[in-house]
Symmetry: C2
Subunit: 255 residues, 2 copies
């Protein structure tokens, strides 16, 4: 059914190195029968783009490992943040859900490595709490996402990502942050095509439920006049944000 | 403590488009006060390298979202696989742990989208079952990794990734595949620096425990003679693989 790389056992060589070194190694491994693949990681691709895959290709198959943007082992995550910083990246969205935390161990886990690297290189960390797609929490469970939200407060992370496709989940996270008096802003993707199809309505709903920022994809980039769409959505979320703050003010007064 | 992008509420514009379109949109959004960030996704970076971040930078901060290599929403994962295929990539390592499965819903989840896109574009899918680092299963739980291994069998995925840092976990996955008569080969990273420090010993141990392929990073690329190291490790794993098959033969005979 699938092509196979090579009969086991074999070696896949991870080329988490500069292009020149990778090329040298690819050349040297070309005739080694035990080597079944050259693993091209996100660092090379981020630096040069995917053309490295072609450039390094020889007799040995090329395996692309995008290393899950800040979802890899702590050592790689630190390198990703450093490289991104050197290219003027302001903020980095990291997703430690599948990669974990060192809490309870004596070592830094992926979450902690991500945050400390962001601190070191002055990159703003944005942590994905929960994703938008159907079945997103199938493996991870909603309770683990909520525990991550709690940990965010202790780590003083300024931004998180929570799904506009599930406004009630945004509210739940907002409540966690308020309970902990944590100054965390919520960024919500998933408006428009992933939700009701109406990005204006969805954006406003997300903000009313506790989102501070919305991520807009297709609704803007497929528009005839992107600036115009951005302006319209901007108006809607401004209104929704004001409503939310007023509600909160009333609630606090009545408490 | 952290720089902030902009006061809420705001719009982050996801530029999951071609560079020319992204540039046009970035220009158009430059003066829109509601827009707090340009989100540069993995597609642009994979195509052009991180220099796109600099090229698109204006008054609006640039947010890098590497979209977790096949760990994003199904729509993006499909695009990643397609783009990788167009650049001669043979195999793609996807990690659906944090992104889920559509099982139980009426839709394709990330896992299923990854597999079907690989099929469509003739890319070999490799699925991460469990990662190597401390606390890797802190959010995900080992039981979810095991459930993913079970699902792999039904989806006829040819390769998985399991951690050489935890050989007993490799054995557990190997047993699942044998019980299900699934022809799945196990790729193991995490030998050398992440384990005992001795890549030869660690590689052999991983293979004895059920790994079919080992991923070698630093041990090869930092070596004075990478080919030589590859040859040595190749010898070790060949021996270990033979031992494992013999054991299995004996076990089957005695059953």
């Amino acid at each position: 059914m699938w092509r196979r790389i090579k009969e086991p056992p074999s070696i896949i060589s991870a080329l988490d190195v500069s292009f020149d070194v990778a090329k040298k190694i690819a050349y040297e491994l070309d005739k080694i029968t035990h080597v079944s693949g050259l693993k091209i990681g996100s660092m090379l691709v981020m630096e040069h783009g995917l053309k490295v895959c072609q450039a390094l290709k020889s007799n040995v198959p090329v395996i692309l490992d995008m290393q899950k943007g800040a979802t890899d082992i702590p050592e790689i995550v630190r390198e990703q943040v450093k490289l991104a910083a050197s290219y003027d990246v302001d903020a980095f969205i990291g997703s430690p859900l599948g990669a974990g935390s060192g809490r309870g161990t004596t070592k830094q886990g992926t979450l902690e490595a991500f945050v400390s690297a962001c601190m070191e290189y002055s990159v703003i960390p944005i942590v994905v709490l929960e994703m938008t797609q159907p079945g997103a929490t199938y493996f991870i469970r909603e309770s683990a996402c909520e525990e991550l939200a709690q940990m965010i407060c202790g780590l003083e992370i300024p931004y998180v990502v929570a799904p506009a496709t599930k406004p009630e989940r945004i509210t739940l996270y907002r409540e966690i942050f308020e309970r902990e008096s944590a100054d965390v802003e919520i960024i919500s993707p998933g408006v428009g095509p992933q939700r009701t199809g109406d990005p204006l309505k969805d954006s406003a709903e997300a903000v009313r439920h506790g989102a501070d920022h919305v991520v807009i994809g297709r609704a803007i980039y497929k528009a005839n006049n992107p600036a115009n769409v951005a302006l319209k959505i901007g108006g809607e979320i401004q209104k929704a944000f004001r409503e939310r703050k007023q509600c909160l003010g009333k609630k606090k007064k009545s408490d």
